[in-house]
Structures are given as C-alpha cells and as structure tokens.
C-alpha cells in the first residue's frame, strides 16, 4: 500500500536536490508539450510522461517539461517545442514516447537536433 508516510520520505530526499538545483542555476532548457484536445486525442499524454520520466531518470537538473494549449497545427500533433538558450526554437511533430527518448538523448543531452522529427521535415 502506498501511504502518505512515503511522501515524507520523498520530502527528505528531494529537498536537498531542489536546494542544489537552485544553487547551480544553470541556463535552463524548456520542453513544452501541446496538451489541448487535439494533442490529447493524438497521444500527447504518454509523450509528456515519457519526457518527464527521461528527464528524471537522467537527472537533467536544468531541464523543465511543461504543458501548453494548442500549438496550432492539429494534424501534426502531438507537437513538442524545445527552447534552449542560444538556440532557435525547435518544433517536433507527430511525437511518440519512443521519439521522446531520442530527442532527449540527441538534442537535450548531445545538442544535436533530431531533424527528421522537426516540423520542417514533416509538412
């Protein structure tokens, strides 16, 4: 059984990490997932979950994953935008959880945009 007691343990464990993260204060990367009706219907929920999980697993302290409404091109959903400091915004389309893993490994970690998933290659 999961209990509220476990949350207290999580509190002990994460407070230190949160502290550390604010102290390092590196430039941050934002991953934004479109979660309006069209995005949800096209499969955005597991895509978002995959990004959240990958970021946590790899302990990417300066990367945030957030949700937004409709990005505007419903037929290309699920759509994900990546904002990195000093880089142009990159828009990934028709995303899946598997593709999310590749975007994290290649773009977020190794700074190589995954061109084949970008909106420019899919119009």
């Amino acid at each position: 059984m999961k209990t509220l007691e476990e949350l207290k343990a999580i509190r002990e464990k994460t407070l230190a990490n949160i502290q550390l993260r604010t102290e390092t204060g590196e430039d941050s990367v934002r991953i934004v997932v479109g979660m309006a009706t069209c995005g949800i219907a096209a499969g955005a929920r597991p895509v978002l979950a995959a990004f959240v999980e990958e970021v946590a697993k790899r302990k990417l302290a300066n990367v945030s994953v957030t949700q937004t409404g409709c990005i505007g091109v419903c037929r290309l959903e699920p759509i994900v935008e990546v904002f990195a400091p000093g880089e142009e915004k990159v828009t990934y389309v028709k995303m899946t959880p598997e593709k999310a893993g590749r975007v994290i490994a290649e773009h977020i970690v190794n700074k190589q945009v995954v061109s084949e998933y970008t909106i420019g290659m899919n119009q």
Partner: protein
Amino acid sequence: MKDLSLHILDIAQNSVKAGAKLIDVTLLENADSLVITITDDGRGMSPEFLKTVTDPFVTTRTTRKVGLGLPLYRQAAELTGGSLDIASSPGSGTTVRAVFFTGHIDCPPLGDLPATVQTLVQGAPDIDFHYRHEKCGKASRLDTREMRGALGGVPLCEAEVLNWIYESLKESEETLL
C-alpha cells in the same frame, strides 16, 4: 478520443484554463451506468455563453477557430444513450456532469485514470485536485491537499511525487476491478 480518461483530462484542462484553485473529479459506477462529474471554482461562464458551448464552433481560444473538447465529450456520452449537463455561473465555477451507459456497445473504456491525474498535477502543480472513483461501495481516491501536508514545501511536480501519484492510484484502482 480513445477512452474516458483522455476526455477527463481534456475537460479538466478547461478548468485549469479557467483559473480554478480546486478541481474535483468524481466517477460513480453503478450496475449499468457511469457518472463523471468535474467541478471547478474557476471563472465560470455566462448563461448566454453556456447555451452555445457544446456547439463545436464556440471557443475563446485563439489558435484554432473551433473548440472541440466539450462537443466531443457530449457526443461520446450521447452515443451511449447518456447525456452531458453543464452548470456554471460567472465567478462561482463550473460543474460538468456526464452520464455514460456502460453496457452500450459505443461506451469507451475507462482508460488510464492514474495517468490522467498524474498529467493534471504535472501541468498545474499549484492547483489542488480531489479525485474519487467509486464502484460497488469501494473507492479509489487522491487529494493533493493531504499530499501537500506530508510534502512540506516540495512541489507536486517533482518526478518522485508524480510517480507516487501514479503508483498509488494504480494500486487503488486495481481494488475496484
């Protein structure tokens, strides 16, 4: 929409957008029906707007000309012989109540309800959510207000907290099967 958990996610996102501080999601399963009620304390809708809101051409969004969430939800409920009711007033919030007849061949499956709650909290960690799924006298529930008590200042969008939400709901949903 493939399943009801995705509809719930979508309809509750409307409540988030309406500036709600507390969103309540309740599922009541009986022998042949399922009643889903989503209540928020957001900005609400005027009576005139409310009359037109399940019409697929009504939206206050700006990126697309039509709103789809509520019309799709109403259609899903009506296809099972059920219905959708919205009660709302400006300033005091909105209640969206849908009835599905679960024996009907067109009734969508429940889907991954824990993932829906987890996604809602991830997207709006400062809002409180109360979730309750009741069936045959048993209930699966989650209340972020209780969680905040145990978490001290740790935000609900921390990965480990989100994991806990998913695992804990998965466990309690299984007791309803």
